[in-house]
Structure formats: C-alpha cells, structure tokens
C-alpha cells in the first residue's frame, strides 16, 4: 500500500492527453484523494510533446513531485523526455503501436499495451486514452466503476452509446493489463482516501470565483495565456448576475474600459499576463492619478517579450510594483495557494474601493493553471466594503460648484461619488488637479495632492500580509517566496527538519506596500535567508534587501528555465549552506 502516487500521461498535443489526465484526476478526486496536476504544454494547438503530471495523495499536496511512479506514453518521445523521473520500481505503460523502447539507463519496467489496437477494435482509435486509463486502473487495482460517472458527464451529451463504448474501452485496457499481471506487473495499491468531496480546480478558477464573490459584475479583457480561463469562466457566470464580459480589441482598451466601469460604480476586473500588463501600464497610472479603483490580475509567465508563454516564471514582480511612469499608490497582492487566490481576489475589490487605488493580483502560471484539490471555500468570510463611496442624497453644492472628489483628508482617502448622483458633479483628470478635480499646476496643490495620494496606502490593512510557518526563534534557514513556490518550500522544509535543521518559512502575500514589520524579525532571527523564486535576477530577494536589509544573509535561489522548482532542488540548495 502506498500513500502517494505520481502519474504522468504524455503524447502529442491535440491527442487528448489533457482529457485523459482530466478524467483520471476527477475520478480520483471524487474518491477523496488530494491531487496536484501540472501540465507541460507548448504554444501550439496540434503537435509537440505535451504531458500532464498528476500527483495523488491521501494527504494534502501542493506541488509537483520529484519522481514518478507511472508513465503512460503514447509515443517514444514521451518516454525519452520523461523516463528519468521514474524511480527504479516505476512503470511505463506504452502504446504497443509505436514499438516502445526502454532506455538502457533505467530500472523501471516497460509494458507495451495495445492502446490503439484495442480502441480501434472497439470502434475508434480516439478511445486509446480510455484504454490507457483502464490499464492504469489495473496497476492501481482500482474498480473501473469510479470512472463511469466522469465519463458520463463528459460524453453524456453524445449519447448513451458513446458512454458505453468509452467504458468498454476502459474495461478492455483494465482486462488486458490484468491478464498480464501474472507476468510480473507490480501493482501499486493506494491507501483508501477519506471519501470527502472537495473541489478540484485551477488557480484561475479560484480567481474568477473570488471575483464573483467579491462583487465583480463586469470584466473587460483580451485573451492571453495563462489568464484566459478567468474571462472564460466569468462570461459563463456573470450573465446570471446581470453582468457580462467584453472581449476588447486590445489590452489597453481592456484596462481603460475597466477604469470607466469602476469610475461609474461597478466592480470590474481585467486580467492578463506580462505582455498585456506592459500595455496596461499607462492605464494603471490613470487609475492611480484619478483615484479610480481598479483590480488587475497578472498571471505571470516566462518573459521577456513573448518569452515562454506556456511556462512558469515569476519575473513581473518589479514591473508590477513600480510599473507606470511617475509615482502612484498601488497595492500588489500575491496569493500563494488556490484558496488564497479566491479570498485575495475578492478582497482586492475591497482594497481597490477603500483606498481608491489600482490593486494588482499577482499570480503565476503554476498557480493559475496547476489543478489541485482545494479545501472548502467559505463565501461567508467574504466581506463587501466600499470605503468612502457615498450613497443616498448628497448635500447641495453652490451653483457652478463642484463636489470635492479629491478633498485632502487625514488618511488621504476622499469621499467618492459616482456619475448619476445629484450634487456630486466633479471633474476627473489624469492632469494634476485640485480638490474639485479641476486641473491645477500650483506647486502647493501639487504637493498636497501627491502627499494625499501616497498617504493612502501607508497603513493598509490586509489580513495576513505574510503567510508564516515560523516555529523557531533562532532558525538556521528562513525560506522566503511568493505565489506558487509555497508548496515546494513546504515540502523541502519537511525534509530539512527531518535532517535536524531548524527551518522557518515566510511567504509574502502583500508584496506592495512591503510588510517590513512582519518580515524583519524573521530575517533577524535566521542564520540564512533563502529566497526561492522563478526569475533570473532574484527580484524578491532584492525587494527584501531594500526593505529589511541584512544583505549578507540573503541567498538567492533562482530558476528560470521555464519549469517549476522541484522539492529536491530547494532541499539541496539549503543543504549546501550547512
């Protein structure tokens, strides 16, 4: 019996690799297992190697595993590219059709199963994926009935016959391998899961769901990897709430349309990745200068320019903190789990309205597209707070007078009204302006308005700006990261603690303004600070040095080859230091 299993299916893009993984994963999720799935794919629709690696566990898993138990291969390339991940007792289940060859330097076993042949006999070679699922079920000693419900949901609209045929294919794959088991195929039996129903979703689903829970009723966006799922989800769900999504002509239109809708009083989101964020920068400045709330999601991917559009990277950090010309108050959040992606996106709308600033919700490809089991989300925890937005009748203003939309206040936040309100008329402009919004170039006014704007985020209130797991008062190592590296750090940490090292962990959720007071004591009490991040220059490490100092303790652990960190890579970096 095993507690955990790593399974990977690979082949050519467009061959149904994704849906094979999906059916396998959903079925296991419904049995109560915790899953973590990560897709390797390219920026093309047909062709090119793709794979879907799924980790199945009886306990929570939040990252990709180092090694692999079962590799399902639809072509030789899948074996050649991935076999090194297999441990010595690992299994390759390969389609007999391509005469699979096992590389010499692996102790893993290879079983050629006639996936395509069986599927063709049953009606269509398209079902070879189902045969492979059946073969996997045989190795795991799983009852194939667990797949029936999922198969019915996916193929049900094509008719009962199609459902039955696909189930036949799963059974045939199962039987074929069972018949061979006598010949020495080792089964890998998973311990029973708790049977609890949990969500299985990608980070982008949680961001979109969080937006809805946070009162977002409109979105303007332009498609881009890896952000498009957010708009695709919202266009399905917003109409039931009276809202909609507009796919704009470009990223600039998306950001400025979102500004227009927010100015008019509707919580509106836009989402993109690095290239889109570069285009939105002027609009972000407009939001900052006009104090118009704005929520923008940046799902980071490999940059610069078009970069590695389908690969993991965390290299937009500096751009998100400092991007746009001039100086504006801005909030940058970086959820580190799918759950946080839900709550933080919802909260972003509150912060945007309370502080009347642009709020960037930073994600990364691994968090946005990694599909995982998620603990229940509690919508009752989501508050709607609209800050100083005035409602009801406003006091009369003198003839030709304007409402003081930019009134200088102690906390810097001014009362806000929306178009349509009587006695609320004021001007809004990206030009420096006086309290009424009318343009003003006076030095005195400039300073008063600049100070007022910047003052707004000096004391921002954000629940848990840093996720901390810091048991040790004098740690050997403090790990620091942001976004999706949380899982890999946690896993490395567990191994290091077993080795006797004292390890603390701080994952930064409020990137800007930087929560110095929260982070400084942890840095002070650690011997070494290892900053784990997916970029080449160590952007978070530099932010850390800038805000908390202690440069001599800070060790950069960077990876920028497009792939997420694996636990052993974080573990061994820390081991090197001691």
């Amino acid at each position: 019996m095993i507690k955990q299993l790593s399974w990977k299916v690979g082949g050519q893009q467009g061959e149904g690799i994704e849906s094979t993984g999906e059916i396998f994963a959903i079925a296991l999720n419904r049995l109560g297992y915790y899953l973590y799935g990560y897709r390797h794919f390219s920026s093309r629709i047909k062709g090119g190697h793709t794979n879907n690696k799924i980790r199945v566990s009886t306990t929570e898993v939040r990252t990709i595993s180092d090694d692999l138990d079962i590799l399902v291969a639809f072509d030789q390339e899948t074996i050649d590219v991935n076999y090194k991940e297999l441990h010595s007792k690992g299994i390759i289940l390969a389609d007999a059709k391509f005469n699979p060859k096992k590389p010499e330097d692996t102790e893993a076993s290879l079983y050629a199963v006639p996936f395509t042949e069986i599927a063709t006999e049953l009606g269509t070679s398209l079902m070879k994926n189902m045969v492979a699922i059946g073969a996997t079920a045989a190795v795991l000693d799983l009852d194939i009935q667990v797949f029936e419900e999922v198969v019915r949901e996916i193929f049900g609209r094509k008719g009962d016959q199609v459902v039955a045929k696909n189930m036949d294919a799963i059974k045939a794959g199962f039987d074929n391998l069972k018949a061979n088991l006598g010949a020495g195929v080792q089964t890998m039996q998973l311990e029973k899961a708790d049977g609890k129903k949990r969500m299985f979703m990608i980070g982008n689903d949680a961001i979109a769901l969080g937006a809805i829970a946070g009162g977002c009723r409109f979105m303007a966006a332009y498609p881009i990897t890896p952000a498009s799922e957010i708009m695709e989800y919202l266009i399905k769900k917003l109409p039931a709430l009276g809202g909609t999504v507009i796919q704009t002509e470009d990223e600039i239109a998306a950001a400025t349309m979102a500004i227009g809708a927010n100015y008019a009083g509707v919580r509106t989101i836009t989402a993109s990745a690095g290239p889109g964020l570069s285009l939105k920068m002027e609009a972000i400045g407009l939001s900052g200068m006009t104090e118009t709330p704005l929520v923008i999601v940046d799902t980071q991917r490999g940059g610069p320019s078009t970069g590695l559009p389908t690969k993991q990277e965390q290299s937009d950090l500096m751009a998100m903190i400092y991007g746009t010309h001039g100086e504006i108050p801005k909030i940058v959040l970086a959820p580190s789990t799918v759950e946080e992606a839900f709550y933080d996106t919802a909260e972003a709308f509150n912060l945007a309205e309370e502080y009347q600033v642009p709020v960037i919700v930073l994600s990364d490809l691994q968090l946005s597209l990694g599909k995982q089991t998620v603990e229940p989300l509690d919508v009752s925890k989501v508050e709607i707070r609209r800050g100083k937005l005035l409602t009801g009748d406003l006091p009369e203003i003198e003839a030709k007078g304007y409402f003081k939309r930019y009134e200088v206040t102690e906390d810097g936040v001014s009362p806000r009204v929306i178009p349509g309100m009587k006695n609320g008329i004021h001007h809004v402009t990206g030009v420096e302006h006086a309290e009424t919004g009318k343009p003003s170039e006076s030095a005195e006014n400039r300073k008063a308005q600049m100070d007022k704007r910047m003052r707004k985020v000096e004391n921002i209130r954000f629940n848990m700006p840093v996720y901390k797991n810091a048991k040790h008062e004098d740690a050997d190592i403090l790990f620091v990261g942001f976004n999706s590296t949380r899982g890999v750090i946690e896993e490395a940490m567990g191994r290091l603690e077993k080795d006797g090292l004292k390890v603390n962990h701080a994952h930064i959720r409020l990137i800007h303004p930087f929560p110095t007071d929260e982070v400084l004591p942890l840095v002070q009490s650690a011997k070494k600070v290892v900053v784990v991040e997916n970029n080449a220059t160590g952007q978070l490490a530099n932010i850390l040095k800038m805000n908390v100092g202690h440069a001599n303790k800070i060790v950069k652990h960077v990876k920028y080859d497009g792939n997420p960190f694996l636990p052993h890579e974080v573990y061994s970096k820390a081991k090197e230091l001691f």
Binding site: G242, A258, I418
Partner: protein, 288 residues
C-alpha cells in the same frame, strides 16, 4: 428642467480665441438641454489634446482620460450605468491616430454612446505637427516637405466598419450641429459625429473660409437618403468626404446593450454585490 446654461461651469477654456471647439462645447450644452437631460445624468469622457479638455468645460460628470482612450473608458461607463447619457469626445489625433483601433471597434460593437470628434487636421496642443487627417502635401513642423501619407477618410471608414450612425458637421453651423448631437444621443447605438473645428493657430490651410468654400450640405443634395449605405458611400467619395449633415443611420440594428445575454435592464451599478449561499454552493459543486 435644465437649460443649456445649467451645463455651463465657471472654468474658462484654455482654447485660443476663434478656436472651433467653443462652438462644439456650446452645441453639446444645448443638445443636452434639448433632449431633457439633467447635468448629473450626462458623462462626458474625453481624450488628450486641446479638444480633450472639453470634459472640464461642461457642467456634467466629466472624465479626462489618457491619449486615444476616451472610447474604451466611455464604453465602460455606459456598460456600468446604462441610464447615463455618455458622450466621448476628442480630436482627430486622439480618435484617428493613437485611438483608431478603439474607434473602429467601438463602431462595430455599437454600444449606445455618442462620439464627437473635433477634427482640425493638425496637432494643436503639441504646437503644429501632422495629423492623420492632414491632406497629402500639408506642411507642418513634422512634415517640413509636406505630408507624404494619405489622409484618413473617417466617414467612409465608419461606414465600412458597420456604423449605425454617421454624421459630419462644421463648428460654425451651431444649429445643425446641435440637432445632429441630439439625434446622436437619441440614436440607439454608437453614433459618430465628426466636426470640422478649425485650428486658427496652426492650420493655415483648412480655415473657416476654406471649409465654407468646400463643404456641401447634404440637405442641399437633392433626394439624399441617409438610410442608404451605398448612396452614403458614393456621396462621400464624390465630395471627397467634405459633406455635412446626417450621412447614414441604421435604425434596424440593435445596440450592444440590447443584444448582451443576461445584461440587467437596471443599471449594473444597482446590482447586488453579495452572493447568495445557494448560488455559491452551486458554483462550487461544479468543481467537485
């Protein structure tokens, strides 16, 4: 009921004396009063340039955005509050150079807003460079040997992009211009009104007198039918685009708002922001 005076504020425009934009400002104020608006129910969204300042010169909600982006901002405002009357405005550089992509897409999207372009065939605020509306050969600071690019024909372009309301006017024709803006506001869908608004400081070619000599009123064209797209195109080509009046209107096509699936009848600003637990549970169950 508000009169045009209620749409005046106490800000003195920083336009040069004699600028065509003054009349456009007056026409918007009159049209707004004539269609029965109260100042708080009008939002004027403008771009950057001399003409972009117009949103600060009208007593209504006003948003002076960034260069070329008045249209997406205005569309966002309208989507958020469909009860507001939204006017976007700016110059020919704003709408036909940096913002041209938005112009074409706003036309084909057909959200119910009115776009008024103050077309002076020159960049004024940056002190006299060529514009996409400058004629070939036009000498400016950035084209000392004369522009070698072809001028854009915005009215023809609007027709090919699927516009449902296309009109053109001359800033001195205050009465006609006011009537066209009223018609644009009343039109269900996107209305584009291009206004020849001479720059008295930097454009010494396309002057008031030049326009008076070269413009043809469509009301003087016998039997002109503004509901015939083909005729509209032919007339524009025949007169090199120098016509004024309602060029084309399609009252059949529905506006974007009327076509959006599920879009609330009441302004979206009034939507309940909370989420019903049952509805949330339903959403969550889809991921299980």
């Amino acid at each position: 009921m508000a009169t045009f005076k209620d749409f005046r504020n106490d800000v003195k425009p920083n336009w040069c004396p004699g600028c065509g934009d003054f009349s456009v400002q007056a026409a918007i104020q009159r049209a707004a009063a004539n269609v029965g608006l109260e100042p708080e129910n009008l939002a004027v969204i403008s771009g950057i340039g001399c003409s972009g300042r117009i949103s600060g010169y009208i007593n209504s909600y006003g948003f002076h955005g960034i260069h070329g982006r008045s249209l997406p901002i205005a569309q966002g405002v309208k989507m958020a509050n469909r009860d507001l009357t939204v006017i976007a405005s700016g110059g020919d550089g704003d709408g036909f150079a940096i913002g041209m992509g938005h112009t074409v897409h706003a036309i084909r999207r057909n959200i119910d807003i009115t776009y008024i372009v103050m077309d002076n065939q020159i960049y004024g605020l940056t002190k006299g460079q060529t514009s996409p509306r400058s004629a070939a050969g036009f000498k400016t600071k950035s084209t000392p040997e004369g522009s070698i690019e072809q001028a854009i024909s915005p009215m023809e372009l609007a027709l090919t992009a699927g516009a449902t309301f296309v009109a053109q006017s001359f800033s001195t024709d205050l009465k006609d211009l006011t009537a066209l803006i009223e018609a644009g506001i009343n039109h269900k869908g996107f209305s584009l009104i291009n206004v020849f608004s001479p720059c008295v400081t930097y454009n010494k070619v396309n002057t008031y007198d030049w326009f008076k000599e070269n413009l043809t009123k469509l009301s003087d064209v016998e039997g002109y039918d503004p509901h015939n797209r083909e005729e509209a195109m032919q007339t524009l080509m025949k007169h090199n685009g120098l016509v004024t009046g309602l060029i084309y209107q399609n009252t059949e096509r529905k506006s974007y708002q009327e076509l959006v699936h599920g879009y609330a009848e009441a302004p979206l600003t009034q939507a309940d922001l909370g989420l019903d637990q049952n509805y949330f549970d339903k959403l969550v169950a889809e991921f299980m």
